[in-house]
């Protein structure tokens, strides 16, 4: 994957785009979890969400910088 993406003449690091995609994915996962009421099994839902996001974003960023 290229490390930079040109967006209307503005060079952005690909991780920025991946960040946005990760946000959308994490949000979808969050909706799923809350829809099934799974958060009641966790001690600290906010921390869980943050960690899940970090995992998703980290996994995606690895495809760029490896």
């Amino acid at each position: 994957m290229p490390r930079e993406i040109a967006f209307h003449g503005l060079y952005m690091p690909s991780v920025t785009v991946l960040f946005l995609i990760a946000v959308v994915l994490a949000w979808a996962l969050d909706r799923l979890f809350s829809g099934l009421d799974l958060y009641r099994f966790f001690w600290h839902p906010a921390l869980l969400r943050l960690s899940l996001f970090a995992c998703i974003f980290g996994a995606m960023a690895l495809t760029v910088y490896r």
Binding site: L10, D30, R31, F33, S34, D37, Y39, R40, H44, P45, A46, L47, R49, L50
Partner: protein
């Protein structure tokens, strides 16, 4: 033995942790978020690390829901502001007069928007306003860099937002959802006590008024919390519809209770009459029922218990009414006494069924999915357009004057002055007292300047490395965050944090230039003082004209209740009236006489408006029968009464009051002399209910506590 010696120590610690401990945790969270952001910004070589750090200070709040909401709107506001700035720069780069003029208009528009939406949406407008100024003014000298400046600013702000939301959510979170649950559970306990006392007639007028002010403030506060918890917690998001419903049902209960209370007050004012004796048993029974829930937390389990008790009470009520009426009729009461008796029991019955609805909704909070979630009636805020226009005009005026001064004198720090006053005027547009807010910010900035000067020129040259820098910045940030967490000093804290950071937090390449430094701080303080002066002079919202205006708007709510389409009317009427009263009450702070007058108007408007909405609902649901046809004389008389009431509430005076009273009397008379097919039973007879509501409107108009009493007296003075 050991546990006994530990006990006082532990109790002390717990009480400390719940009061001051929360503040300390908050302070450390602010520090962690700020330094994390600062380090990342320096590491990523962003051009202005302080912007990212300022974002942290602005966004950080003790409760996590507020942080998310504020962050979300800050991001939107920044994007809007940057876009507008880039457009303005593209249009007027060669001509600074036009540029500054349109900037002033834009900031004015945004301040008006901020005053119009007073919750977190306001914050988006504030940001959209001053981001344009913040990005645009420094770029005015070299417009080719303006696009990149906007991009960098958006990145810096996003960094600040990401760090502060992560820190608030993950480290010792104080959730708004929990705060909301607490407030909700506690509110009903307090309300039960209030109702039980009111039914027994044992609370004073004063306690009744403070209680009501409190419930109005809580209804608005809870709506604020609800809109915030949506951002925070999926648990609460699933209950959003029910929370909405709970709030609007609670408002309905308070209005209903106020109506009943008003009627009882009048009946008891007459002395121990036969009607009082006849209604007493029903009231006492409800009061006893509520005693069990008074001043306690109402958990969903308790609410289910309350539902059962209210159901039993409601089922036994018609029987009770029949018995009491038979007893009363043996004493051969007058027509008016019977009417009072029926109205009182009608209101009591409605109060109980409203409470039953409320308790059911409350009990349903325990479930993840529930049928009661389907609720369309939202809390609708209402702001007078005058408030918004005043804020907008003030902002445009200040910016125009400063731009004029800058263009005329070419003062090198002029840009800083405009920029700071744009920020101040936008931030203070959302408060009740813009003058006080601006002045506090000016003081905070002055303090920030003194501390910043000491740090920049006497400490920073001697230290080396990021940890030492953080150590030197910590005391200032802690002081600022502490001041910011106390509502009465919020302005000082905000001024200190933001403007200390703007001037004194070093970038990657530190520049020591005392001359510009001092000039810029003078410009900042000057700009804020001018904002404070303008807040006091140009259309100040906390003065007579404004609350007169709001009082007029409050009265006009009756016109709204009479003429607006019936669909979802109840909830919007209740919430808008309360919102208007709350605003006017806040603006009239420190003027108890004005506040009392406003409160009395609110009671009359709510009672009469509510009765009218009930009347309209009754007429909507009438069965098809010639006796209920729209051309029947009683329905015509009710329409005439509606027009008389509109006239009275738009222009309250003696003759309009007499006219309205005559119209109500006429309507009661028409209803009394109409026949209906479905027997004169308490719960089947439409006309009897209509008569109760009409009688209630009449007694509200004649209430000696209401603002109309002075108009009635005025007339009798003229007559004699």
């Amino acid at each position: 033995m050991k546990s006994i010696t530990q006990l006082p120590w532990r109790r002390e610690f717990n009480s400390w942790a719940r009061s001051d401990g929360v503040t300390w945790i908050y302070l450390f969270k602010v520090l962690i978020a700020a330094f994390l952001t600062y380090w990342l910004a320096l590491r990523l070589e962003l051009p202005q690390p302080r912007t990212a750090m300022i974002t942290v200070f602005i966004v950080m709040q003790p409760q996590s829901g507020h942080v998310f909401a504020k962050s979300f709107y800050r991001l939107l506001g920044t994007l809007a502001g940057s876009t507008v700035m880039v457009v303005l720069m593209a249009l007027f780069a060669q001509n600074s007069e036009l540029f500054l003029g349109s900037l002033a208009l834009w900031v004015g528009f945004c301040s008006a928007g901020a005053a119009r939406y007073r919750n977190f949406r306001a914050y988006g407008f504030v940001l959209a306003g001053y981001t344009a100024a913040m990005v645009g003014l420094p770029a005015l000298a070299h417009p080719e860099g303006s696009f990149m400046a906007a991009v960098w600013r958006v990145l810096e702000i996003s960094l600040g937002i990401v760090c502060s939301t992560a820190v608030t959510a993950a480290i010792l979170p104080q959730s708004s959802g929990a705060a909301m649950r607490n407030a909700l559970y506690l509110r009903f306990g307090v309300f039960s006590r209030f109702v039980a006392d009111g039914l027994r007639g044992s609370n004073s007028r004063e306690a009744f008024e403070t209680g009501n002010v409190r419930f109005v403030a809580e209804a608005i506060g809870l709506e604020g919390l609800r809109s915030v918890t949506v951002f925070e917690d999926p648990h609460m998001r699933r209950r959003n519809g029910r929370l909405n419903r709970l709030n609007s049902e609670f408002m309905a209960i308070t209005t209903r209770f106020n109506a009943l209370h008003q009627l009882l007050e009048r009946l008891r004012g007459d002395g121990v009459s036969r009607v009082v004796i006849a209604t007493e048993p029903g009231l006492i029974a409800l009061a006893q029922l509520l005693d069990g829930f008074a001043n306690r937390f109402l958990t969903p389990g308790d609410a289910a218990q309350l539902v059962r008790e209210l159901e039993d009470f409601k089922a036994s009520l018609p029987e009770r009414v029949r018995a009491e009426r038979a007893a009363l009729e043996e004493l051969q009461p007058s027509e008016a006494e019977l009417l009072d008796f029926h109205t009182a029991y009608e209101l009591l019955y409605r109060l109980v069924s409203d409470m039953h609805d409320y308790a059911q909704t409350h009990a349903s909070l325990a479930d993840h999915n529930h049928i009661r979630e389907k609720w369309q009636e939202e809390f609708l805020p209402k702001t007078s357009w005058m408030t918004a226009a005043a804020a907008g005009i003030r902002a445009t005026f200040i910016l125009s004057i400063m731009s004029f001064y800058w263009v005329a004198t070419a003062w090198p720090s002029g840009a800083t002055m405009i920029l700071v006053s744009a920020a101040t005027v936008a931030l203070s547009a959302t408060t009740n007292n813009p003058k006080r807010m601006s002045f506090q910010m000016a003081c905070g900035t002055l303090l920030g300047a003194l501390l910043g000067f000491t740090e920049t020129f006497f400490i920073f040259p001697f230290i080396d490395g990021f940890p030492l820098l953080c150590l030197c910045l910590t005391p200032v940030f802690m002081l600022g965050a502490f001041l910011g967490s106390r509502p009465q000093w919020a302005g000082y804290g905000l001024g200190l944090l933001i403007f200390f950071s703007i001037g004194s937090v070093p970038d990657n390449l530190t520049i020591y230039n005392p001359y510009t430094y001092i000039n810029d701080y003078i410009a900042m303080v000057l700009g804020m003082l001018i904002c404070a002066a303008a807040g006091a002079i140009i259309l100040p919202p906390n003065s007579r004209w404004m609350w007169r205006r709001l009082e007029g708007d409050l009265r006009r709510q009756v016109v709204f209740a009479i003429s607006a389409p019936l669909n979802r009317l109840g909830s919007s009427f209740e919430s808008q009236t309360r919102d208007l009263m709350h605003q006017a009450y806040g603006l009239a702070a420190g003027k108890p006489l004005v506040q009392r007058e406003l409160l009395r108007w609110m009671f009359v408007v709510l009672e009469i408006g509510h009765a009218i909405i009930e009347l309209r609902r009754e007429q909507e649901m009438l069965p098809v029968h010639p006796a209920y046809a729209p051309w029947q004389s009683w329905r015509v008389a009710i329409r005439v009464m509606g027009r008389a009431l509109i006239r009275l509430f738009i222009q309250p005076d003696h003759s309009n009051l007499q006219r309205a009273l005559a119209a109500v009397d006429h309507a009661i008379n028409r209803v009394q002399n109409s026949d209906e097919p479905f027997g004169p039973h308490f719960d089947t007879s439409v006309l009897r209910r209509v008569k109760s509501y009409l009688h209630f409107i009449r007694s509200s108009l004649l209430d000696p506590q209401s603002p109309f009493a002075s108009y009635a007296r005025q007339g009798s003075i003229h007559a004699s």
